[in-house]
C-alpha cells in the first residue's frame, strides 16, 4: 500500500536554512546540508528546499546549496523559489534536484508547467499554491504570499494538473508558521478536485495535526518545517504515532538486515 509521506521543508536564504511566521520574521535554522542529512537519517520521506533569496548573487549560491544537499541524500529532493524559466529549472536539475516547485512563474505564465513537464516529465514538476482565506473562498497569492491574484485555489490546482503538474504543494498562508494545524478543509477540497497527489503545508504543530490532514484533509503527503527544525517532534515518533492509527507510513524501523548468505558472485 502506498504510504503517506512526511516531507521536511528547508527555507533557505544565502545558503542558510531560515524559518519565518506567516512568511515573515525569518530566523536562522542551520546548515541545509546538515539538516537534510539529519532528516534522512531520522526517516523523513522527502526533502523540499524553498529558496527565499532576493538577489541574483544569492540565487547563484543556491545551486551550490542544492549540490551540497543532494550529495548527501538518497531520497527525493524538490527545489523551489524563484524558478522563472526552463533554464532556471534545468540548473536545479543539474545541481541534483529531482523535482522543481513552481509558484509565481507558473501563475504568470502557466505554459511553463507543460514546458518543463515535456522535457523532464510530470513527475518532476510540483506546482506550489499559496492560498489565503477571503469571503469563504481560498484565493491564490503570488510572490511569497504578497500579491493577490484573485484566482480560486481549487480552480488553479485543476488547471495546473491539466497543464502537466505531477503534484500540488498546497500551503495555507493563514496557517503558515502558526502551529495551529493544517487547513484540512482547504486540503480536502483540492485533493478531491485533482487526480494527482496533494502535499499539505502550513500550520503543523502537533502529531494530531498530521493525523487530521491525512484523514479529514485527504492529503497524500504533509510538509513541515519548524516542528522538525527545532526537534520538537522526532520523525520516528511521529511515524509510529500515525502508523498506530492506521496511516500507512514508511517504517523508520525497516533496517536493512545483514544477509545470512553473502550475495553469490
Amino acid at each position: 500500500m502506498l504510504c503517506k509521506r512526511l516531507i521536511a521543508c528547508l527555507d533557505t536564504r544565502d545558503g542558510r536554512a531560515v524559518k519565518g511566521t506567516n512568511f515573515l520574521a525569518l530566523r536562522d535554522a542551520g546548515d541545509p546540508a546538515e539538516l537534510a542529512a539529519r532528516y534522512d537519517a531520522e526517516g523523513i520521506d522527502e526533502v523540499v528546499i524553498l529558496d527565499v533569496s532576493a538577489t541574483v548573487e544569492s540565487r547563484r549560491a543556491l545551486a551550490a546549496t542544492i549540490e551540497a544537499v543532494a550529495a548527501r541524500l538518497f531520497i527525493p529532493l524538490t527545489v523551489g523559489g524563484g524558478i522563472r524559466t526552463i533554464g532556471d529549472a534545468a540548473a536545479m536539475f543539474d545541481a541534483g534536484a529531482d523535482k522543481v516547485a513552481l509558484n509565481s512563474a507558473a501563475l504568470a505564465s502557466p505554459a511553463l508547467i507543460a514546458e518543463i513537464a515535456a522535457r523532464y516529465g510530470s513527475q518532476a514538476v510540483v506546482v506550489a499554491i499559496d492560498a489565503k482565506n477571503g469571503d469563504g473562498s481560498q484565493f491564490v497569492y503570488a510572490r511569497s504570499a504578497t500579491t493577490p491574484t484573485g484566482r480560486d485555489a481549487v480552480e488553479w490546482a485543476r488547471e495546473a494538473c491539466a497543464r502537466g503538474a505531477g503534484e500540488i504543494l498546497l500551503t495555507s498562508i493563514d496557517r503558515d508558521g502558526t502551529r495551529t494545524g493544517f487547513d484540512t478543509s482547504l486540503t480536502a477540497r483540492v485533493s478531491a478536485a485533482v487526480p494527482i497527489p496533494v502535499i499539505a503545508s502550513g500550520g503543523a504543530g502537533s502529531r494530531e495535526h498530521f493525523l487530521d490532514v491525512f484523514t479529514a484533509g485527504r492529503a497524500d503527503a504533509a510538509l513541515a518545517a519548524s516542528i522538525f527544525h527545532f526537534s520538537e517532534e522526532s520523525i520516528a515518533g511521529l511515524k509510529s504515532y500515525l502508523a498506530a492509527r492506521g496511516i500507512p507510513m514508511r517504517s523508520p524501523d525497516h533496517q536493512i538486515t545483514r544477509s545470512p548468505n553473502p550475495p553469490s558472485c
Partner: protein
Amino acid sequence: MKGLRATGAEPRVVRAPAELTAATGVVVPGVGHFDATRSLGAEWRAAVRDAMGRGVPLLGICLGMQWLYAGSDEAPDVDGLGIFDGRVRRLTGAVKLPHVGWNSLDAVSASSLLDGVDAGAEAYFTHSYAAPVGADTVASTEHGDVFASVVERGVVAGMQFHPEKSGQVGLRLLKNWVASHAL
C-alpha cells in the same frame, strides 16, 4: 550515478552505442514518457542486445525497465526490447496517478537482488504505467493494480521504482545487483 558510486561501482555515462562494448554492466535509467525511448534506435538496441549476448548484466530502472517489455500503451507506436513478457499499461483503480511515494516490495520469487531487504520494505516510486506480474517477477507492488516492481531473467533485471532515491533499501538493492554480477 551517485547511488551506483555508493555501492563501490564506477559508472560512467555513454553517449554512443559503440561505447557499450567496453561495459561490464549496463544500467538503463530514465524517467519520463515512453516516447522518449524512441531515441534508443536500432544501433542502441543492437548494442544492448549484443552486450546481453556476451553475458553483460543489464539493469533497467523505471522507464528503463518498461523499455525491456514489448511496448507500452503510453506510446503504442514505439517498440520496447521485448525481453520480458507482457505489455506496460496504465495503472487502474480508484487511486491517484502518478503513483508517487514509498510503497512496499512484496517478494514473489527468490533472488539475490532481495538479499538483506526486509519483507515489505518500501521503495520510492514515481510513474503511472507499469508491467504485469509474470514468470520473471521477483517482487510485486500494489497501487490500484498489482504490478511487477522487480523483475529478473538471466542477466537482465528491472526495477520500477528508483533505487537511487529509495534510501538504504534502494542502495542495498543496487549493491546486490552490483555484487551478484561482481561489477
